[in-house]
């Protein structure tokens, strides 16, 4: 019960920060608020027993991606043009999408229900057999490196492609410009 209340408190803080990002004109401040948002998400992941995800979110989501955003802002400009935040059309669209999504949750299992369909199929086998089949006590490691190893290989390919893409985009700029441009990845 107390877990649910902590979750909802942290989610409420995240909502306040998201609205803060929406209204913030200074892009440096918006980037820092996003970093706080990611850090709160990491705290939420700890409450929800996803400790590995919390590590990654705190280091990669709250760290590296914000450093990338600040680097990009250093190369461009840090202020957004003053414009009204509210626009009726997009607001109605967002409201409609949200209403459809909330309608979609109406037949979802309640939060933390142990008999939900997601907990019945593959997960019990991972929890029971991974010790004997793979070895490490951390089941997430076993699944990541062994059962779903191809996923991780695909992820590495994506990072490699993104690295090549960033170099292709920013490498040419460095050759043309007089001063050396900042490295992105």
């Amino acid at each position: 019960m107390i877990e649910v209340l902590i979750d909802e408190a942290v989610l409420g803080l995240m909502l306040i920060i998201a609205v803060g990002v929406l209204y913030q004109r200074n892009l440096f401040a918006a980037a820092m608020l996003t970093s706080i948002y990611s850090l709160l998400a990491a705290a939420l992941f700890v409450v929800m027993d996803a400790v590995d995800v919390a590590f990654t979110e705190a280091s990669v989501g709250a760290g590296i991606s914000i450093i990338l955003a600040l680097g990009a802002l250093a190369l461009t400009c840090g202020e957004q043009k003053a414009r009204p935040v509210f626009a009726l059309g997009p607001f109605l669209l967002v409201l409609l999408t949200g209403a459809v999504l909330i309608y979609g949750t109406s037949d979802m299992p309640a939060y933390g229900d142990a008999s939900a369909p997601i907990h019945r199929h593959v997960a019990p086998r991972y929890l029971e057999d991974s010790r004997g089949e793979v070895g490490p006590p951390n089941v997430v490691t076993s699944v990541l490196a062994s059962y779903r190893g191809y996923d991780t290989l695909g992820e590495t390919v994506v990072i490699f492609t993104a690295g090549v893409g960033v170099l292709a985009l920013l490498g040419r700029r460095r050759r043309k410009a007089a001063k050396p441009a900042e490295e992105e990845a």
Binding site: A69, C77, V94, G98, V140
Partner: protein
């Protein structure tokens, strides 16, 4: 208790929609990418919420624990976080190139410049 159980999902949907609103309304390209990051992080929270079992523990095998939360969403989201950073990096470097070419990263100004001098 039933309604309270779904309340968590509704808050996550509110977060998602805030990110979505930033993406579609902000003419600034960096702000758009920041909105995309917010949307992304809320989808991560949605997945991890589904994997949680009340009274469960982190999926690290131990003799003292009998109930574990579902490890599968954790693995999927670990992959998604890293892929998300890779796409953010590509998006931001595109913005840097656009700024170098047009001197602005406001979408409407870029469109106007394109119209004047295609």
């Amino acid at each position: 208790m039933e309604a309270l159980g779904l309340y968590n999902y509704w808050l996550v949907i509110a977060l998602m929609m805030t990110g979505f609103y930033i993406v579609i309304t902000s003419p600034n390209l960096v702000k758009k990418i920041i909105g995309l990051n917010i949307f992304q992080a809320s989808v991560f929270v949605l997945y991890i919420t589904m994997g949680k079992i009340i009274g469960g523990s982190a999926p690290i095998l131990s003799d003292q624990v009998s109930v574990y939360s579902n490890p599968l969403p954790h693995v999927l989201i670990l992959t998604a976080i890293v892929v998300g950073v890779a796409t953010t990096a590509v998006g931001l470097s595109l913005v840097v190139r656009i700024y170098a070419a047009y001197g602005t990263m406001e979408e409407d100004e870029i469109v106007a410049a394109e119209r004047e001098d295609p």
